[in-house]
């Protein structure tokens, strides 16, 4: 699991540099997200651009990570590929998260 985080002004960008978030890595993903959340401040932008495949276990891990966010902080998503986008739409989770088309759009929104 490779999560690369960096503070960008008021926002914190976490790039998920793995090809798949599935049942094989879901627990590790959630635990590493916990470390990223604890090490950061502000809105957390999750860059899913490198992720080519996700299943419902991976989706559940992202939801679990969102629930770890302290009060007053938000998690937003960016750069969903076709499969990730489909899974979020089919489960209607796209209505729960603010989703940005690209990382640039997400970071611009948080100036």
């Amino acid at each position: 699991m490779k999560l690369n985080g960096r503070q960008l002004g008021d926002a914190y960008l976490v790039t998920v540099d793995v090809p798949r978030i599935d049942a094989a890595v879901a627990i590790r993903f959630r635990e590493e997200m916990r470390e990223q959340i604890e090490a950061s401040t502000g809105t957390l932008i999750l860059d899913l651009g490198p992720v080519g495949f996700i299943d419902s276990s991976g989706l559940g891990a992202i939801v679990a990570a969102m629930k770890l966010m302290p009060n007053g902080r938000r998690m937003e998503l960016a750069a969903l590929g076709p499969v990730v986008d489909k899974v979020f739409r089919m489960t209607r989770m796209d209505s729960i998260f603010r989703i940005h088309a690209s990382v640039d759009e997400a970071t611009a929104a948080h100036g």
């Binding site: 094989a24 559940g60 499969v83 729960i96």
Partner: protein, 151 residues
Amino acid sequence: MKPPSGKPDHHHRVAARHEAVTACLIALRDEMVDAHPLAARDDAWEIVLAEACTNIVEHALAERPGAAFTLSAWLRDDAMYVRLRDRGLPMPTGYPPPPCAAPPRADTLPEGGFGWSIIGRLCRRVRFARRAGENRLDLVIPFFAAARARK
């Protein structure tokens, strides 16, 4: 609904571990890129099979180290026909659970339970049977169904 007769185009014996499911799906895609390049460009089949195989690992074959199941796939122009077989626990109700119709709520967000809904949305047919101690799940996954499901 039965799978097509004859030898499957793809057949895998999969250990009941999540890592083995991932490896199987990657191997299946590699096989399809060569043998069925158009079908390999679709993604619905991989989404469905990930959910169905994960269910077997986490439920039917949970607590059974060393167990395995089989995945057989027949590819036709319009769809992938799949049969998954395991000798694990039966489904508690005898049938796959109904899909969850309610949209998620921000205050009670579920972290799971999406699998059968996804399978139901992307498959043309889902049939489960328990015969002589064996679970048999037959799926028909139309190609490019995900695009239709979004409409």
